[in-house]
């Protein structure tokens, strides 16, 4: 018997269980909501005791932050792949929009988790360590955007006024996408307000915002619908196929 191997097997088992807990928690969150997600139920479902669950996570809130962190990291992956796209700066920014849209389809329940963990009283009960990780991941998304913005300014595709920072524009895009997903996920009867397809609206508004900043080529100068197909097939072929978009 090689002790290291045995030890590793146990540790691997423990690590796998952590993933199992998160899978169960995510499903529970989707199916029964925040109030229906309980530590007892998680324990029952993974067929371990509650104490064992608490060996992985310090609190229910900690589980939630971990759940959100997992999908947020997938989001960051998509964003970074989009940012690495070779093309005019505005088209790269558009690729971020495509990634955002893709993310929404691939992880439709992410916003439920993100919604909850953004509540102050939730964050105060999560592990500092896990929160730091979450913010680092968030920063990866934000960084992908500001990177493109800086390139656009350097290339002369985008002029910013004095005192205006790329971060401000990135914040605008972030706000808009965040707000749209959020409202769409949490406002019942948007149709009653005369709203049709919120995804389509968001895409249009996204372009309008970039046009407003004078980021060339403007949306009426290029066919961004064609660009979308190009981006999907070049950067996200697998994801697009799995969603039937290609």
């Amino acid at each position: 018997m090689v002790p290291v191997t045995t030890l590793t097997r146990k540790q691997r088992e423990i690590q796998e269980r952590e993933g199992l807990i998160l899978d169960v928690a995510r499903r529970m969150l989707v199916e029964r909501g925040y109030l229906g997600l309980t530590m007892d139920r998680i324990a029952q479902e993974i067929e371990y005791s509650k104490g064992t669950v608490y060996q992985h996570f310090s609190s229910k809130e900690d589980v939630l932050v971990a759940v959100a962190g997992e999908s947020m990291s997938k989001r960051a992956d998509l964003f970074e792949r989009a940012a690495a796209y070779q093309g005019p700066s505005r088209e790269r920014m558009w690729a971020i929009g495509v990634a955002d849209d893709l993310f929404l389809r691939l992880y439709p329940n992410h916003w439920e988790a993100e919604h909850i963990i953004r509540a102050a009283s939730i964050q105060s009960k999560a592990t500092r360590e896990r929160l730091v990780g979450l913010h680092a991941t968030e920063m990866r998304c934000f960084g992908a955007c500001t990177g493109i913005l800086r390139d656009a300014i350097a290339a002369g595709d985008l002029q910013v006024e004095a005192g205006e920072k790329p971060e401000d524009i990135a914040f605008g895009l972030w706000s808009m996408s965040f707000g749209a997903h959020f409202i769409a996920a949490s406002s019942p009867n948007l149709e009653a307000k005369g709203m049709g397809d919120t995804d389509r609206s968001l895409r249009r508004n996204y372009n309008a915002l970039l046009d407003g900043y004078g980021w060339t080529p403007l949306s009426h100068e290029t066919d961004y619908t064609a660009a979308q197909d190009r981006i999907l097939s070049k950067i996200f072929p697998e994801e697009a196929r799995s969603l039937g978009l290609l």
Copy 2:
């Protein structure tokens, strides 16, 4: 003894108590967060028993929806006053932005409540009656925006493409403002991300979005900072003074 008077006094007392409960709940929500707001504490603070609190509200979630509804209705008031402003359509839309900004300052804790009540599991436990009221109030805000948009289109200040509805543009503005307030309220260390003044960013992005739609006069054709002072002194003199903005 006139029976009607006596009865009315009691009823008035009950009604006042409802307001008292909401005041206490709002304060508690701000000070101790969602998890720190408990029905027992509310009862203790208003010096009535828990059963009495439950005679006004069917659940803790119902209290929260009522708290959010109260401030949302103030928001609708501000929006409607802004929409009634006499001036070019774009300036009227700008007035909505000013109202939005004013609301943020006047009711800084509204978003904490709105955040919570947008969670699905919360809405499912609130009274249908109260939810309907909330949505009606939300619709007042939305309606103020779409009204201005329709006027702008009619006046030729704004051209929309075929198949594009005023609601889509209103949704863009709503998303952006909602997302910005939300992120600002729930993301610690935005400075670490390189973000400065989020309110300023929002204003800039708001104008960029309207510019992107080609809503005349464009922001570089008019001084919207001057318009802001005009709007504050004409529509919101008291509020502006109380906040030291005039």
